[in-house]
């Protein structure tokens, strides 16, 4: 009873016979593309997490030997500091440079900014959805502990948080005192990238 419903149904049915393989092919292609995209997304997170484990090892060795140690042989960057946030129990290994490649694996120490523990402003940046996702939980007054490659440990206290445009950061790398800025994209839950950055500013506790 369902084969032909109207006189138009005849042509519709014939049309479907042609459509069906195309539909199936489309279905498969869509499923495959979907799988690829999902796995790419997962891969980004997986890479970010696995890299941190390798980085942690490399950093520990680096502190022990006093030499920069590459986390894997083909890496074009190396770990320079361990950032710890005791109140929320987060730890992250920061890399030399804040290029896109480095940021895939961990927070980057922005070139031209001061070394942690030195006069001026040290700036670390990381992705809002991976290594610095926890930055939204960091509060004013929190302690940030930074272990440098030479093993020295410095403790900073968060003084303020703010949102700025990427090209109007107001960060003076030669500012007086020993300052720290952690930067990530803002808003945290946006799906696309934008021009705004979220900054966590801290001062060293003497």
């Amino acid at each position: 009873m369902s084969t032909i419903r109207t006189r138009y149904g005849v042509s519709e049915w014939k049309g479907r016979a042609v459509l069906r393989p195309a539909l199936r092919a489309g279905m498969i292609v869509m499923a495959l593309v979907g799988l690829v995209l999902v796995s790419q997304g997962l891969w980004i997170h997986a890479k970010a997490m696995v890299a941190q484990v390798l980085l942690d090892r490399a950093f520990t060795r680096s502190v022990a030997t006093g030499q920069p140690v590459k986390p894997w042989s083909w890496a074009d960057t190396w770990p320079v500091a361990r950032l710890e946030f005791p109140r929320i129990g987060e730890t992250s290994i920061a890399l030399h440079g804040a290029s896109g490649q480095a940021l895939a694996f961990g927070p980057g120490h922005v070139d031209r900014s001061a070394e942690a523990g030195d006069n001026g402003t040290a700036v670390y940046a990381a992705h809002r959805d991976t290594h610095f996702a926890f930055l939204k939980h960091v509060q004013v007054g929190d302690a940030v502990r930074i272990t440098r490659r030479d093993g020295k440990v410095f403790t900073y206290q968060v003084t303020e948080t703010s949102v700025v445009r990427w090209d109007q950061s107001g960060i003076d790398t030669n500012a007086a005192g020993k300052n720290l800025v952690l930067a990530t994209c803002w808003p945290f839950d946006a799906a696309t990238s934008g021009p705004m950055r979220y900054l966590v500013k801290a001062r060293m506790l003497e």
């Binding site: 070139d111 940046a125 990427w166 696309t192």
Partner: protein, 754 residues
């Protein structure tokens, strides 16, 4: 079958056929369409992210294929292609004033949005009063605002993506024009209008158009001035002698490896008001078109670039220039007058007092090349003119100084030849620490000795950034000395020269090329040797006239007294009195017969602003009082000043909010005749250790064509992109999976039905 179907359709419980089809279609659209929309959004955002990197004006050295001019950006290893400026200068000289319109065409050669900052010179007595910005076919007229307010308006527009232009005075002869949001490969045209008085000296009128800002030596903050707190606590702050060093140090190109930039065209319509004799352009070749006996049109011939000042002089046909000139202009309710009066030259029979002259010669790196030769030739000429009764000394300086003799010595043959030998051996190198030699020259060991006339002849290009420190020193320590400035080179700092001569109660002589040395130095010596005209006063009989300059200068031979006044009424007379040597002199002009002039109100206000600066430097009024006066004059007369700026904003935004804007200074040519290594070789090494200011470096690229590379101002650290597209990918992927699953069920259902 047909009937059955018909039945179904007729059945009240079944959905009507059209509705079912619509539902199917909607479902299909949802299942297939939504993921595609998601995919589209995903690829679009990827594309824009990509475009953002591609469109970023920053490039790396590897990206540069040809000889492009690059500025180092605040991001390490990345550079920005420098914006270019072409300039057209259109000047109409009518009688005593020149009305100029400068058109600057800014071009952005890069793929990103830039803010171009161009530092350019204007005559030190120019009254800058109008700004126009042309964007496409729209013309935006600029407004005069208090400096801070103008800056805020500009910054707001800049952030909002609107095109805007801000004209600021950094020094009375050094301005910057910032143009925000010039799109990729776009041009923005900015026009600036100013008025300026024509200069008269002897029988010669002259007009000078400075075209390039010479790189200046900015003493490092080591020579600090301390300011102790007023509360007597003994604690205080120290001041940088050049508080705005970053604003007056634009990048400069090495002429050996860069073709000259910033092309210039100039056209002067010269309406002298009298039959013209010799008209001469001193440093450029020109085409001259004679309109009538009184009028000529002069334009630059060939290709020219902004690397030297343009100087035009003209003389009347009958050898003597008119001894007096009186011009008037009515603006609103007020009348303004401008008067030129040249006192007669009287050959005095009485015995001249001998002179005690201290020559100070600048042999710093900026004088390298032809300037040093001009300075040495000038000083040699001066030494040869000394008389045995005179006393003299020679001081040379770069960032060190040497005084040839302990004190001034008599100008006997032996001393003079020692001095000429000393001068002949001088070579240009090093920085320009001008304060110490100036103080040494002003240091008068016999302040009450009336048997000598004490004069200081200072030969320099004035390429320094701490002008105010020098002017303060002259004002404070002048005593009985008189300071004569001799400006050397193709682009001297005329503001410093004129103001130093004014405060030092001497004159300013400019020597722009070696063939001017003889004539100009002869004129200077005629001035030094002739009696001066003192005790000058100018009185308008109608009363309540506001006359400027407030302190009338002493005049030297051949120089006119130039006064501007705001008048209560255009009637009565103007009487000028003075003493020529020991003879009284007086001249009276009928005000009502003044000729019509142009822009006199602006020139009057501009001169009043200088008065306030001079009085504050002399300590006659407080700095605050000077500021108050300057602000009032500038706002009322719409003039750019130390405290006011012109700002124009295009109300239509042009830069999308997600596109970054990069600041870039327009690079300048090295003034003609300068030696690049002498200037920057010295400064770069010294500055590197003292401040983080821009050091000139050169990146090596393909042989022959190398880009000049320089640090762009790095006030703010730019932050990297810190978001992954993981989430976006996962959302798009899940939607696609969901869609394919939906399609699967849909096709199964329809097939099942079949």
């Amino acid at each position: 079958m047909k009937t059955a179907t018909f039945h179904t359709q007729q059945s009240p419980r079944a959905m009507p056929h059209w509705l079912r089809r619509t539902c199917h279609a909607l479902w299909l659209i949802n299942v297939v369409g939504l993921p595609f929309i998601a995919l589209a959004v995903f690829f679009f955002s990827l594309a824009t992210a990509h475009a953002e990197t591609a469109r970023s004006p920053l490039v790396t050295l590897d990206d540069v294929k040809s000889g492009t001019l690059l500025l180092k950006s605040s991001e390490a290893g990345r550079y920005i292609e420098a914006p270019r400026v072409a300039t057209d200068v259109d000047i109409v000289v009518s009688g005593p004033t020149a009305r100029a319109r400068i058109t600057q065409i800014f071009t952005n050669p890069s793929n990103g949005w830039v803010e171009a900052v161009y530092a350019y010179p204007l005559p030190e007595d120019s009254a800058v009063h109008a700004l126009k910005m042309v964007v496409g076919k729209r013309v935006i007229i600029g407004d005069i605002k208090e400096k801070k307010e103008a800056k805020t308006i500009y910054e707001t527009a800049k952030a909002a993506g609107q095109k805007a232009s801000l004209v600021e005075q950094q020094r009375p002869n050094l301005f910057t024009n910032s143009v925000a949001n010039i799109g990729p490969h776009e041009q923005v045209v900015v026009q600036i209008d100013y008025q300026e008085p024509v200069r008269l000296s002897g029988d010669e009128f002259s007009l000078r158009v400075p075209l390039v800002v010479a790189p200046r030596y900015n003493p490092a903050p080591i020579t600090q001035t301390a300011d102790l707190a007023a509360d007597g606590s003994g604690w205080g702050t120290t001041a940088d002698p050049v508080p705005d060093r970053s604003k007056i140090t634009p990048p400069v190109l090495d002429p050996r490896i860069n073709a000259p930039v910033n092309p210039v065209s100039i056209k002067v319509r010269l309406q002298a008001g009298f039959a013209l004799g010799e008209v001469k352009s001193h440093h450029h070749s020109v085409n001259t078109e004679t309109v009538d006996a009184q009028t000529q049109v002069i334009s630059l011939a060939g290709d020219n670039h902004a690397d030297r000042d343009f100087e035009l002089t003209w003389k009347p046909q009958n050898a003597k220039a008119p001894a007096v000139g009186l011009f008037r202009e009515t603006v609103g309710k007020h009348d303004y007058a401008l008067a030129y009066v040249t006192p007669p030259v009287i050959e005095q029979k009485q015995e001249q007092r001998p002179r005690e002259i201290v020559f100070v010669i600048d042999n710093s790196g900026s004088m390298g090349g032809t300037s040093m030769n001009q300075a040495k030739a000038s000083l040699d000429y001066a030494l040869s003119r000394l008389k045995p009764a005179d006393r003299f000394n020679v001081i040379r300086f770069d960032d060190t100084m040497t005084s040839l003799f302990q004190d001034t010595v008599s100008a006997d043959r032996e001393n003079v030849s020692t001095a000429r030998e000393f001068v002949g051996a001088l070579e240009a190198s090093g920085g320009t620490e001008m304060l110490a030699p100036l103080e040494a020259a002003l240091n008068d060991r016999r302040p009450n000795d009336q048997s000598f006339v004490r004069q200081i002849v200072f030969l320099t290009d004035g390429a320094i950034g701490n002008e105010q420190q020098l002017l303060d020193t002259i004002a404070a320590k002048l005593g009985r000395s008189r300071v004569f400035m001799v400006g050397i080179g193709s682009a001297p700092n005329n503001y410093l020269m004129n103001r130093a001569a004014e405060l030092g109660r001497g004159t300013f002589t400019s020597i722009g090329s070696t063939d001017q040395v003889d004539e100009r130095m002869r004129n200077l010596f005629a001035k030094l040797e002739s009696p001066i005209i003192t005790n000058l006063s100018a009185t308008f009989s109608s009363g309540n006239a506001d006359v400027t300059p407030a302190i009338l200068p002493d005049l030297y031979r051949g120089e006119p007294l130039v006064i501007a006044a705001k008048l209560g009424s255009l009637s009565g007379t103007l009487t000028i009195k003075g003493m020529i040597g020991k003879q009284p002199w007086e001249v009276t002009l009928p005000v009502a017969k003044a000729a019509e002039g142009e822009g006199l109100s602006k020139l009057w206000a501009r001169r009043k602003i200088s008065d306030a600066e001079v009085e504050s430097t002399l300590g006659k009024i407080s700095r605050d009082e000077a500021d108050r006066r300057i602000l009032k004059l500038a706002l009322e007369n719409s003039l750019v000043s130390r405290l006011t700026s012109l700002v124009a904003v295009d109300t239509n935004p042009s830069r999308p909010q997600d596109k970054p804007l990069t600041r870039a200074d327009v690079p300048l040519n090295l003034p003609a005749g300068w030696d690049f290594d002498k200037v920057f070789g010295e400064q770069a090494t010294r500055k590197a250790s003292l401040d983080n200011g821009p050091d000139v470096q050169f990146a090596k690229l393909a042989a022959g064509k190398k880009p000049a590379v320089q640090q762009a101002p790095a006030d703010q650290l730019p932050l990297p992109q810190t978001a992954t597209d993981a989430e976006l990918r996962m959302i798009a992927g899940l939607l696609l999976l969901f869609a394919s699953a939906g399609l699967f069920f849909f096709s199964r259902k329809t097939m099942g039905k079949a």
